[in-house]
Symmetry: C2
Subunit: 350 residues, 2 copies
Amino acid sequence: MAADLTGLACPVPLHKYPTVQMAHGGGGRLSQQLVEDVFLPAFANPALGARHDGARLEFGALRLAFSTDSYVVRPIFFPGGDIGTLAVNGTVNDLAMCGARPRFLSVAFILEEGLDMDVVVRVAASMKAAADAAGVALVTGDTKVVDRGKGDGLYVTTAGVGVIDHDLVVAPMSVREGDVVLLSGDVARHGMAIMAVREGLEFESKIESDCAPVAAPVLAMLEAGVEVHCLRDLTRGGLASAVVEIAQAAGLSIRLEEAAIPVREDVRGACEILGFDPIYVANEGRFIAIVPERDADTALRIMQAHGVSGGATPIGTVATSPKGLVTMRSRIGATRIVDMLSGEQLPRIC
Amino acid sequence: MAADLTGLACPVPLHKYPTVQMAHGGGGRLSQQLVEDVFLPAFANPALGARHDGARLEFGALRLAFSTDSYVVRPIFFPGGDIGTLAVNGTVNDLAMCGARPRFLSVAFILEEGLDMDVVVRVAASMKAAADAAGVALVTGDTKVVDRGKGDGLYVTTAGVGVIDHDLVVAPMSVREGDVVLLSGDVARHGMAIMAVREGLEFESKIESDCAPVAAPVLAMLEAGVEVHCLRDLTRGGLASAVVEIAQAAGLSIRLEEAAIPVREDVRGACEILGFDPIYVANEGRFIAIVPERDADTALRIMQAHGVSGGATPIGTVATSPKGLVTMRSRIGATRIVDMLSGEQLPRIC
């Protein structure tokens, strides 16, 4: 007999995790649940509901993208960048993923008492260099200080405003059967660069983060008239989580070819040593573009013409079924279902 | 003999404080020095140089205000509000201080592992309620999780976008000799509400934070054609630091009347017990408006007609000298110079 428990139901079904877990920040299933169970019901509005990397704001004929991210990466300095480059490029890339031209950033620091002032100076200099490289201006900011032991050196939060000057709706809802999934380059470098430092691992070649701004190839595709259906940067949760999120939101199936996904040999080796699957490892300068088949060649040529996406390659296609699922054909021809990152693989990667 | 040390000079003269002090976040002199010595040189651009509560962005004929703040208040819940109400109203008020109509907010959480999920739910609900009350939409967000012992429950960073639909330059540079300084109500309530909780003090009446959105009276003044010269909310560093900052930036003198500054009796009592001067204590729903003498009566009537600024009153005037200084005539007629908050009086007040 099924008792009617409706009247007893908690309005927010969080009993499974009554406290915050590291995985709630991991970009995988628990992150998604936190958004769906807590923030979407609390903040309920259409812009948030679109579940994109940023919101689209309209002021008469002007359309802007607006996005924010906090950065808590550990260590603060890592091969290929630091928390400052990440905080600029991460938000610049979120704006680019809305199909916007990044223009202005705000920056808010939470500093821990006792932090070397030199660290603040170096991070600020990195942010300025990254902002110049990405063509954005750091226009407003804030600084708070928390007591020793209540922070971890420094945390940085950036918010960004960009201009959308095309009529496409770049979002999962625009994805169609037959679309091609283009990946901008090799994956898993950022995550493995961070892990190598944390674990004190030495590899034959130094693995550097791929942290970089990706707006240029995106804007070039839009300017060339490529009908970009969806864009997503492959940060927390990696390639796999991004593709699964899009398939779920679009109600379509995405079929990936494992052999087509570039992973550098040393990165693959590091992943094997540490037990990671490269498709779940975070990147900070990689994205996927989902475009109609007729535009795929043009899009690919444009991506390949930009250094940051010089290694662009097609990795899959969109089908109608199995609905909401991502499948991947392995090197030996077997097909498996790709799930979202479950649990927390790489804490504080960004 | 004065040796030429130019060649030896550190480009950033921070030798006095080689590490971050709590006072660097206190809103007083050290906060100002951090901005002037580190962030302004690093980020150098005109918008930041204007040193306002937010930046002014121009897109053709459209002018927007853009602002951000991190909130690290302790405790998370306090009489009259919580970190969520503060994070919404604080950024809404920064936009209002630019003379903008607040429209959209982003919100980024840094959660500490192990935090009760119920706290996140309550704070999110507060943010929604505060956003609705202020007429803004929470449109995009982010969540990061840091390890236990690397945060303090939760930190919230909001950024906001508002629309400027008038031609005034609301900034210290617009302040003129003869202008009147209007204060929107009694001061020091937010700071003393927080301190009372922290110190476990019990007063005859409960002191609640004044945390509230102040955009409505500001927009009403602008709509009525009041030539608002400058606006400033009286957060970290309190009334005194805000007025000193404006006097310095404008290169003018501001003369205050101590007897004209309203402080509630219980708040004054709490300040005396704890050894605080109310003019340095933080507020979260109070602001000053500096207007030409001819508009002062109109401005005052409009402020008094709004609940949030119902206690508005003139507290001083602008003169040309002593340049860059604020003076205050005490109840017994003596005049003293009012300085910016020095050191850290009330850590983590917002």
